[in-house]
């Protein structure tokens, strides 16, 4: 049984390690082989980018060698997939190799595409890559005061990031003693402050408390970088001195090129996490087209469900469980306090008041992440 995992991010790494742990005996007996193909020999802790943008972490702290995170029984190649040949049960890689599989797990993830919004690359700051996060920090350091506008593209990775950015900005400018010279305004695509109703209800008085203005039903259409004006699809305009955006995201190019899913998102069954119409292909993490948050925690819980099922199919011929839509998101709420939102397909999140121990749990998780991707936690 050849299991091929494509993608070495959070989802792919947890899948490969979790399977390797569950199938130790089968791998040792030569009945199962796990191979991972990734685009990089390094693994980045992506939530750390927000800390980099605010000068609370340096980029080197975000990385580990991918090989050091993988179980020794996993065959690992830095060789991204160039073409998926699902009918032949094969993938072709950039180096020209062909890998055959019995079970394929696609975990290629997502990427921001600021270049798709006119003027965004020139006119706005963002933090979804190492370089952009460092650049944003430098801009924040230089900023002496004025209008700081925050806006959000759709869809995007880490749905809680827009809210966290506002608290971080308030903390940052307060610590620098220029909060009174800074106007903060938050723009959100739908009719309330956050897509999760309970987060929206909680954020309203919190934003009022820290002095954040808001505008809802605001989707970024274009940015006039020269005159520092942001225009919305809804027909409104705002002037800014510093613009921070959460750019819209897409799945990986290879997914679109091979017509696996529009926007790079693969049509996936929400319970079995199998690619629609393909019994031997699983999709996990950001790559799915599911109405589920694009976050590491969703990837984690999906990976667990997939691994339990693949292992049980190998051992007893049947899957044993469904993914229930579980997501767990930390929410940094400023002033060294945090809370969290946990929900699944059926139960909405119920927010607790932010506390210091939750903030510690969050910063502890920044380290525990490595234990998590190793398949331990």
């Amino acid at each position: 049984m050849r299991i091929l995992v494509v993608g070495g991010g959070t989802a792919g790494t947890i899948v490969a390690n979790n399977l390797s742990r569950r199938l130790t005996g089968e791998i040792r007996a030569g009945k199962v082989r796990i191979t991972m193909l990734s685009a990089s020999d390094r693994h980045m802790y992506q939530p750390g980018l927000l800390y980099v943008a605010f000068g609370q972490m340096t980029p080197d702290q975000l990385y580990r060698d991918q090989a050091s995170l993988l179980e020794p029984t996993i065959e690992f190649h830095v060789d991204p997939v160039k073409q998926f040949l699902l009918d032949k049960k094969q993938v072709k890689t950039e180096s020209g190799k062909t890998h055959e599989y019995d079970i394929l797990v696609i975990a290629t993830g997502s990427r921001m595409v600021p270049e798709e919004t006119p003027g965004m690359t020139e006119g706005a700051e963002f933090f979804y890559t190492e370089a952009s996060a460092v650049k944003m920090y430098k801009k924040l350091r230089e900023f002496k005061g004025g209008r700081v506008m925050v806006a959000v593209g759709v869809p995007h990775k880490c749905p809680i990031a827009p809210v966290e950015v506002m608290f971080s900005l308030d903390d940052f400018f307060k610590a620098r003693g220029i909060r009174d010279k800074v106007q903060l305004k938050y723009h959100y695509p739908i009719g309330r402050l956050h897509t999760i109703e309970n987060v929206a209800k909680w954020a309203k008085p919190e934003f009022e408390r820290i002095g954040v203005d808001t505008e809802t039903l605001f989707n970024i259409k274009e940015i006039d970088a020269k005159n520092k004006i942001m225009k919305s699809e809804e027909g409104t305009e705002v002037e800014y001195d510093l613009l921070i955006v959460i750019p819209a995201h897409r799945g990986m190019e290879v997914i679109e090129r091979d017509n696996l899913g529009s926007g790079g998102w693969i049509p996936t069954d929400r319970y079995s996490l199998k690619m629609n119409g393909h019994d031997d292909v699983y999709v996990v993490g950001d790559t799915t087209n599911l109405p589920v948050s694009k976050t590491g925690s969703a990837a984690h819980f999906q990976a667990e469900a997939i691994c339990e099922n693949i292992a049980s199919i190998i051992k007893i011929g049947e899957p044993v469980r469904d993914y229930d839509g579980k997501v767990y998101c930390f929410i940094e709420a400023g002033h060294e306090k945090a809370t969290y939102a946990m929900f699944n397909y059926l139960n909405p999140p119920d927010l607790k008041p932010p506390s210091k121990p939750m903030h510690w749990f969050k910063i502890s998780y920044n380290h525990m992440y490595w234990t998590s991707v190793r398949g331990l936690l």
């Binding site: 040792r28 060294e336 210091k356 121990p357 903030h359 510690w360 910063i363 502890s364 998780y365 920044n366 380290h367 525990m368 490595w370 234990t371 190793r374 331990l376 936690l377």
Partner: protein, 141 residues
């Protein structure tokens, strides 16, 4: 407070319990105030690495086998003898004059009964080890 109201006596707590709770809460508050993000970072990092290391150690077949062997009394005696031997040998080496070298020196060294005993021990261990290695490679663990 010397008298208790009827409501207070119905409470599952008495004053002493409450006092302890207050003290405990004060302790928690003081720990919260004393901790910094940096301290939490270091603690969490150590714990995370520690758990990963423990996980590697507990799933390492070679190490678990070694631990099982070390548990046997004769092997514990062996470890004690070996550590004693190292201590004594390092002391002897510190006081012994340097060897002159050459074939004569080598002959003189191996004609010592103690050295011959030692070589025999190494030969026994070597023979057993090569047997064991051959078996593991042929039949697996």
């Amino acid at each position: 407070m010397t008298t208790q109201t009827p409501t207070a006596s119905a409470s599952p707590f008495n004053d002493n319990d409450l006092q302890r709770l207050v003290e405990f809460a004060q302790l928690v508050t003081s720990v919260q105030d004393a901790m910094s993000d940096d301290m939490v970072n270091r603690l969490a990092s150590t714990m995370s690495e520690g758990i990963s290391l423990l996980d590697r150690l507990t799933r390492n077949d070679g190490l678990t086998h070694l631990l099982r062997e070390i548990d046997r009394p004769e092997n514990q005696r062996f470890i004690i003898c070996m550590s004693n031997a190292f201590t004594q040998a390092s002391r002897e080496l510190a006081t012994a004059p340097p060897l002159g070298g050459g074939l004569g020196g080598l002959l003189k060294l191996i004609s010592d009964p103690g050295v011959q005993e030692g070589l025999r021990l190494l030969a026994f261990v070597g023979a057993r080890m090569s047997n064991s290695l051959r078996e593991v490679h042929r039949h697996g663990l």
